[in-house]
């Protein structure tokens, strides 16, 4: 609250300065822009996600959240700007330490839960032997609380369980960065909050940085260390908010409820 005019979206970065200086940021965006034809979707996006940090991308629909996530995942190329993953410039292609969890669970219906969880390991070079893949898949299924459900087909699972399998599939490659595009938005509120607890628990087990897209303010406050608020048309960073509350964060607690209220005022 001292010095000359800092751009608003940079105001929160000094709070995380120690973490940033020790390690290269897990994700770093510098002036990333994207247009589809005449439509400017993203304009001059710059922020970092520190190693081990959980960051929410929050905004109304049409502000380019998913496009931004696809760029970071390497599924889309930016028109301008630099994207770095673990301090290395990432130019095209997907980074091996990244895992992407989609809005839909996208479980392959012809595969059992375990075979679905193994899916991400099958692209590995050199090829992993089948028994190692099985073992790794069983480990992550156990981690998400689906011990003993390995042989079950997706259509036999509930929405929450399917979401757990999708999470297991994202974790099986032991990613350092987990990207999530509104991964729990199709679940009922109770199951969603269970998945939030699950995610927080797993994040403390495995040192993984999380960047997730959401339009749910409560989800952002419950899960994130920092919330990046995007403004639409073109998508740009409006504000970066640090959430400095102890876990677990229940929306019914006054401090959490107040944080949710404050954040809601920003969008």
């Amino acid at each position: 609250m001292s010095a000359p005019a800092i751009p608003p979206h940079a105001s929160a970065i000094p709070l995380h300065a120690p973490a940033v200086s020790l390690h290269a940021p897990a994700i770093s965006l510098d002036g990333v822009s994207k247009r589809f034809g005449d439509l400017q979707v993203l304009s001059d996006i710059r922020f970092d996600v520190a190693d081990g940090e959980s960051v929410a991308l929050l905004g109304t629909s049409g502000c380019g959240k998913s496009t931004l996530l696809n760029i970071i995942a390497g599924l889309l190329g930016p028109d301008a700007g630099v994207l770095s993953i673990n301090g290395q410039p990432a130019n095209g292609g997907q980074h091996p330490s990244l895992s992407y969890m989609f809005q839909e669970d996208r479980l392959l219906p012809w595969r059992t839960a375990r075979a679905n969880a193994e899916f991400g390991l099958e692209a590995a070079h050199p090829v992993l032997p089948a028994h190692e893949r099985h073992a790794l898949a069983d480990t992550v299924l156990q981690m998400v609380g689906l011990d003993g459900f390995g042989h079950v087909y997706p259509h036999q699972l509930s929405g929450g369980m399917r979401s757990r399998v999708a999470l297991a599939r994202s974790l099986v490659t032991a990613p350092r960065i987990l990207l999530m595009d509104e991964p729990f938005s199709k679940l009922d509120p109770q199951t969603r909050s269970q998945m939030h607890d699950e995610l927080l628990r797993i994040r403390s087990l495995r040192q993984v940085s999380v960047l997730f897209v959401t339009h749910d303010v409560e989800e952002a406050i419950v899960l994130a260390d920092r919330v990046i608020v995007l403004a639409p048309r073109p998508g740009r960073v409006r504000e970066i908010v640090t959430v400095d509350l102890p876990h677990p964060r229940k929306a019914t607690e006054p401090a959490v409820a107040e944080a949710i209220r404050q954040l809601r005022l920003l969008i």
Binding site: A73, L75, G93, Q94, P96, S99, Y100, F102, E104, R106, L108, P109, W110, R111, T112, F119, G120, E122, A123, Y153, P154, H155, T173
Partner: protein, 256 residues
């Protein structure tokens, strides 16, 4: 639940048996009023069937016809499958070849048989060709439609895990297409089996079709009936003993 299914299964069996007996009785009644060369009775056909099964040419005839059908069918699958995948994943190719497929589909199997005789004479190739020309478009069309149903989201998922195009083909495309291929193959095998007899009646010197024509020429109607019964039983065994179990095993992941 298991009780209910067992109950419905017994009912089905009972219904089938009743239908069979009723048809047999109608056949018998009708045959009483007709000359034998028009409609032989069930006993007469049964005797002819027994005699047929004891004849020295029965198994060779059955074998050679089966072999021709299977050869034509396998060729159709080997050509139609990959071609269907190419057309299903490539819009330009699809647009280019769609009219050709319509043309092939409108040509009757009998015309293919005539062409086959001109080109291959009295040989195995004649029947195989006719089966191929009938079965291939069916398999191709089904695989093509199947390839169009491949979910872009699954492809994107595979790409997010850095899978190669070959891996995407094997792990996303093929499992999606397999049920469509199976449906097409089933249809194609049934059609191929039927047209093979037509081809054999005019372009062959052995096999079931040839024997059928022989029996017709000599007005041995009971022989024609005996072969018909053999073919129907064979198809039922193939359906219940091979196709159904394979389908159940391959598609056990599907909702009932």
């Amino acid at each position: 639940m298991p009780n209910a299914t067992r109950f419905s299964r017994t009912t089905t069996v009972a219904q089938r048996c009743t239908l069979f007996v009723v048809l047999l009785a109608l056949w018998w009644l009708a045959s009483l009023r007709m000359p034998t060369f028009v409609l032989p009775g069930p006993q007469r056909v049964a005797l002819a069937l027994i005699a047929l099964m004891h004849s020295r040419t029965f198994l060779p005839d059955l074998g050679i016809t089966l072999w021709r059908v299977v050869a034509g069918f396998v060729l159709a699958a080997v050509v139609g499958g990959p071609l269907g995948i190419v057309l299903g994943s490539n819009r330009t190719a699809a647009q280019l070849f769609e009219p050709l497929l319509s043309i092939v589909n409108t040509v009757s199997s009998a015309i293919w048989a005539v062409f086959a005789i001109i080109w291959f004479g009295i040989s195995n190739a004649t029947t195989i060709f006719v089966v191929f020309m009938t079965a291939m478009p069916l398999i191709l069309t089904n695989v093509w439609k199947g390839a169009q149903t491949v979910d872009r989201q699954y492809v994107e998922l595979a790409r997010s895990f850095r899978m190669s195009p070959a891996q995407i083909m094997r792990k996303i495309y093929l499992p999606t297409i397999l049920p469509h291929f199976f449906a097409g193959a089933r249809l194609a095998f049934g059609f191929g089996w039927r047209v093979s007899l037509v081809a054999e009646t005019i372009g062959s010197s052995n096999g079931i079709g040839y024997r059928l024509r022989q029996a017709a020429d000599l007005v041995q109607t009971d022989q024609v009936f005996a072969w018909t019964v053999t073919l129907v039983v064979l198809m039922l065994i193939l359906e219940g003993g091979v196709l159904k179990p394979v389908e159940r095993r391959l598609f056990r992941w599907k909702k009932d």
